[in-house]
Symmetry: C2
Subunit: 347 residues, 2 copies
DNA sequence: TTGTACGCGTTATCAA
DNA sequence: TTGATAACGCGTACAA
């Protein structure tokens, strides 16, 4: 039914192997026959069968994407679409395809990855997150399968090609920034503490406090998923403290939206009563009220570089591991202000 | 290197074909040997090679996803993540994998799909959008390749299994709703007019106006992508009309965020000066100020059903085409109010 | 109930 | 520069 290399060969009066060479653009085929073969391909509407090719080749032209936890929640966050956008750019350039494994629990995801890898569906993998002692990462390392990760590996940092921002430094600087605005009661609102990014940023936050001789208080630290109600509670508790924070360092714009909304319900005004600074600088950050002051971490580039490195890795599997630090930049909008400023509201 | 069916056969002291049958859970293999073979598989860490299987089988265990325009912009919209979430659920259940083609322009996307299909990478395809005279859809029809579409096909409606909301009815009802609130100057803010959903809703909007003897005005209709500046202009013009609308029917929450933001910059208050009603009921709709009154179109279910139908279609290619209408529901929040209400602001 | 042999569409090796 | 031929790993008639 489907037109194969043999049909082309017959029509062009050559051997199948010749057709194969034409496809690979083998230099030792005369331009003349190349032409003839290509015409035959065109004429018949030939398209190579990737499975057959992979089988003979041990190379699919595809890479796999692994998302954290349930792709569910992950996908709700604009971070992932954006990072995939960066990845697609490279992937498309190289004529690769994208494969996504699906799975809700950690185990399901692991199984999905195993099937992808052992099943020969992909040539390499990008981990879209980095968590402490990650099963998938361990598997990939053990298998010596080409992969890159977005975020810093918890261990084996030097042995794994990874792309991230310098989250420690970023969090430190942002805390510095809030302090420079006069704040010394600064809350930290993070996501799962299994995520290395959370850990790194918490460390940076601590460091800044220490340098400025500001005491670190446990009650200022929140770890909540925040996509749902849980987070609201946490914020309420935080603001009910005897000395509530006057500034919040939030790990993610999506969380920040939740925070903003809760705060607004509590009639606490941002930025007049409390400043909010978050990470990611998602497109929507511009549209919230007040517009979010957020750290642009160049999500697109994170994806782009991750894919780029992976391509290199696939080509040369024993390339020495690299670490690429993507720059970040604070985008000041309306959700932060100096503590000392007069507390007058404009309308 | 990799462990194959033969290795398993050897270890279990059976023929490769027997192993193959065990994998397929062929009933005419004795439980005893099944057990033995399974132990061997376990022991060796065997995983079937999908490419080989596909070749012999002409069935990949994968389906392809096609996004509109540049996956870029598409992906910015929470609609797609959510719809994919619905798809993943089924896909995972059936142990399928997800394939995404990448491409920026319409032609690139088309090529990607052709490669997916002819290359034998997928067993079926879900179109995540429906546009007028779509190249990809035409191709799929011509090839008689199994596919379902989310949205209503522009033509051949009866011949294509598709899942959508009744967008005509929905838009009519929502317009009715705004009219019932006392509005008779209602703007329509839509996306690309190549999208069938836009067309259907515009028709529904018109219908409602006609029934209520409200004149249809061209100057009340906007078609803008809205993710960027373009939309701002359009809204400014709209509000600068001699008789600016007192209510806006917006096709998408993301656009609505943009509208809200522009309106706020213009010091036009929602809902006191103008009501805004939008579609999709994205998670973030709850967090905007004011919280968006939005139509919940059950995005998740759209994806879920589309995948479900596709699975049926793959199993029985000449199943008669179906149309599944997913219910929708208005979620009233703070962005709409009755026109006759006193125009007093609560702080 | 199980084994043999061939085909799926390519690529790669070796000759010519 | 090109052609045969043997893999690649699996499914499946057909035979036993």
């Amino acid at each position: 039914m489907t037109v194969t290399i043999k049909d082309v060969a017959k029509l062009a009066n050559v051997a199948p192997s010749t057709v194969s060479r034409v496809i690979a653009n083998n230099p030792r085929i005369s331009e003349k026959t190349k032409h003839r073969v290509r015409e035959a391909m065109e004429h018949l509407g030939y398209h190579p069968n990737f499975n057959a090719r992979s089988l003979a080749n041990r190379s699919t032209q595809a890479i796999g994407l692994v998302m954290p936890g349930s792709a569910d929640k992950a996908f709700q966050n604009p971070f992932f679409p954006e990072v995939i956008r960066g990845i697609s750019t490279i992937v498309h350039e190289k004529e690769y395809a994208l494969f996504m494994s699906t799975g809700q629990t950690e185990d399901e995801i692991h199984d999905g990855v195993v099937r992808m890898v052992q099943g020969g569906r992909v040539d390499g993998i990008i981990l879209l997150y980095s968590s402490v002692d990650d099963k998938v990462m361990n598997y990939l390392i053990e298998k010596k399968f080409p992969f890159t990760v977005i975020g810093k590996p918890f261990k084996n940092e030097d042995a794994i090609t990874h792309i991230d921002n310098d989250n420690f430094k970023a969090a430190r600087e942002m805390t510095d920034y809030l302090i420079s605005l006069g704040h010394d009661k600064i809350g930290f609102v993070g996501g799962s503490s299994h995520l290395v990014v959370t850990i790194d940023r918490l460390l940076g936050y601590e460091k800044s406090l220490r340098i400025h001789h500001i005491p670190y208080r446990d009650e200022y630290i929140i770890h909540e998923e925040f996509l749902k109600e849980g987070g609201q509670e946490a914020i309420r508790k935080l603001m009910a403290l005897e000395e509530p924070p006057t500034a919040l360092l939030v790990m993610d714009d999506l969380m920040a939206f939740g925070v903003l909304s809760t705060l607004s319900e509590m009639n606490i005004s941002v930025p007049y009563d409390i400043s909010v600074l978050s990470f990611n600088n998602v497109m929507l950050a511009d549209f919230s009220t007040p517009a979010l002051t957020s750290v642009d971490i160049n999500i697109f580039q994170l994806g782009y570089e991750a894919a780029d490195c992976l391509m290199d890795l696939i080509a040369k599997p024993d390339l020495t591991p690299r670490r690429i630090a993507v720059p970040y930049k604070l985008v000041e909008r309306q959700s932060c202000m100096a503590l000392s400023a007069p507390k007058e509201k404009t309308i």
